[in-house]
């Protein structure tokens, strides 16, 4: 009986994480269209509901009622399971995410490794989709995406090694607690090169512009999801945006002090903002990173494929390796206020 109530309680927590997440995905698509619209001096969607706020729901219903077309020579089972394979890891990674002090579904010790493992699984959806559609463009998109994700995962992993060296813990709550203090106590300052590398590889891992060669519409139509329609396409879409939110949340936890306010522990300003709950700071910081995603898409031209590979292997990975050595020295001498 006790096991059953615990099970129901965990299920309720999962729903409490997933529903806001999916709503956030819906409004991220709306924000993307409005922000890019503003950057390009046009309005964006503003007709459905007040200020176009119901536009995401209109889009969802349109996609739900469309037919899912399976190409005649496609591998039916793999073709249909691929979108689910790309969405599941993006959602499962949220299990270890601490939203505020103690507000976490599963407080495991190897949280950082778990996140890395889950994000590395997302590539299967892309590869299987590309292969199962039996289409040249889809296959090319899948190949590009696989190579890109595997390459940038190394740089990202190294950047996170720096974080766990600095925090001395792989538990995500432990990492945030190691950064307790005002804004200059957070890890973005001592780990600045790793922070930049993490963010660039995060954008590349999610296949977003300017690294979106996997679906480069001017070269290979839409890449790996060219044959998908209706709900199956909607799942890919959902996975991409859920991954963006995940990478932004991780950036906040690893480098921007998680749920701590930027004035935490300061003489006058600190108590002034004590009433704000931690989750508000967490979400606010996430919004900054999500805005960066949208601004990148509107302002940067797409990288050429060989340039992406060179950036990943010859620039980002050496930078992380050098900074890990520098970081080791900083920790040994106990450089304040981070490592003393």
């Amino acid at each position: 009986m006790a096991e059953l109530t615990e099970f129901i309680w965990i299920m309720a927590k999962i729903v409490a994480i997933l529903v806001p997440l999916i709503l956030a995905v819906a409004y991220l698509t709306y924000a993307e269209r409005r922000v890019i619209g503003a950057i390009q001096a046009r309005n964006g969607p503003n007709r459905v509901g007040p200020m176009g706020l119901f536009q995401p729901f209109a889009d969802v219903f349109k996609l739900l009622f469309k037919e899912v077309v399976v190409p005649s020579n496609a591998n039916r089972f793999l073709f249909l399971i691929a979108p689910m394979l790309s969405l599941m890891p993006a959602l499962a990674a949220w299990a270890v995410m601490p939203f505020s002090d103690g507000l976490v579904l599963s407080d495991i010790n190897a949280g950082l490794l778990y996140i890395l493992a889950m994000t590395s699984l997302g590539v299967y959806g892309v590869i299987i989709a590309g292969w199962a559609s039996n289409s040249k463009y889809a296959m090319l998109g899948a190949m590009r995406s696989a190579a890109q994700i595997v390459s940038y995962e190394i740089a990202m992993g190294f950047a996170l090694v720096g974080v766990l060296m600095a925090a001395g813990s792989m538990n995500l709550s432990g990492i945030v607690n190691a950064q307790a203090g005002p804004i200059w106590n957070w890890f973005w300052l001592p780990l600045l090169p790793l922070f930049v590398v993490y963010w660039i590889s995060g954008v590349a891992e999610t296949n977003r512009a300017p690294f979106d060669v996997a679906e480069g519409e001017s070269e290979i139509v839409a890449g790996f999801h060219v044959e998908y329609s209706g709900t199956a396409f909607a799942l890919f879409f959902l996975a991409e945006y859920a991954n963006m939110i995940l990478i932004a949340a991780l950036a906040v936890i690893m480098f921007m002090g998680g749920w701590y306010s930027p004035f935490h522990g300061l003489p006058v300003l600190g108590p002034l903002f004590d009433w704000v709950p931690g989750i508000v700071w967490f979400v606010l910081k996430m919004c900054i990173f999500l805005y960066l995603y949208l601004a990148f898409r509107a302002t940067f031209p797409r990288y050429r494929y060989d340039q992406i590979m060179r950036l990943g292997w010859k620039v980002l990975i050496p930078v992380t390796v050098v900074w890990l050595v520098v970081l080791a020295f900083m920790i040994i001498v106990g450089l304040g206020p981070w490592f003393n």
Partner: protein
């Protein structure tokens, strides 16, 4: 009770996936079943308390090695017919080897040498608060530091050798040099010339 049930479900899926890896006809399907097998064994490891090993199995084998595997298998144009040729011819050699290996494994595993209570490490008291990763690291970098470093050096040599094997420079291909591209100045590429414009009348004459 529930834990046992979960164990048997994942163990059954693992055995099923492992059998499918060697029986399905399509190599891509076989690779995907191998992914499923890895994933289920990772779950079994996590259930046994080895969370670090379980997650690293997913991270390294499922997340990186099998992706490259699939990559290669999908690119290759495998002829399934030629792969199955000579199956019966090798069958008579294969069966005794398989039996021999099974007997060897049974002898080693069944001898009780690997029973948890006989291992010296298993009898050591494990502190309550020590994480999996911390324990593994403190053993790897103290007791087993030389084998560990040796393995790392061998892997490094293997990486360099693999890169050298595929590094072929063809003559006559043109490469971009990003360093040169960045160093270029306006004066190197652009020349502003001042040409006096000629009137149409003088042209016609």
């Amino acid at each position: 009770m529930i834990e046992q049930l979960i164990f048997y479900v994942f163990a059954l899926v693992l055995l099923f996936a492992a059998t499918m890896v060697i029986t399905v006809r399509n190599p891509v399907h076989a690779a995907l079943f191998l992914v499923l097998a890895f994933f289920n064994s990772a779950v079994l490891w996590v259930m046994a308390g080895a969370e670090f090993l379980g997650i690293v199995l997913v991270l390294v084998y499922v997340g990186a090695v099998m992706v490259l595997f699939l990559f290669v298998v999908m690119m290759l144009d495998l002829n399934l017919g030629s792969l199955r040729e000579g199956f019966m011819r090798h069958f008579y050699i294969g069966v005794p080897i398989a039996v021999l290996m099974a007997v060897q494994m049974l002898l080693v595993v069944g001898s009780g040498l690997f029973a948890p209570e006989t291992l010296p490490e298993a009898r050591m008291p494990i502190p309550e608060d020590a994480g999996n990763t911390h324990m593994l690291g403190s053993v790897l970098y103290t007791v087993y530091v030389y084998p560990f470093e040796l393995a790392a050096v061998i892997l490094l040599v293997a990486i360099i050798a693999a890169i050298m094997l595929t590094l072929r420079r063809r003559e006559g291909t043109r490469h971009q040099d990003p360093g040169k591209q960045v160093r270029v100045r306006k004066a190197d590429r652009l020349r502003v010339v001042n040409i006096p414009s000629a009137s149409r009348k003088s042209e016609q004459e």
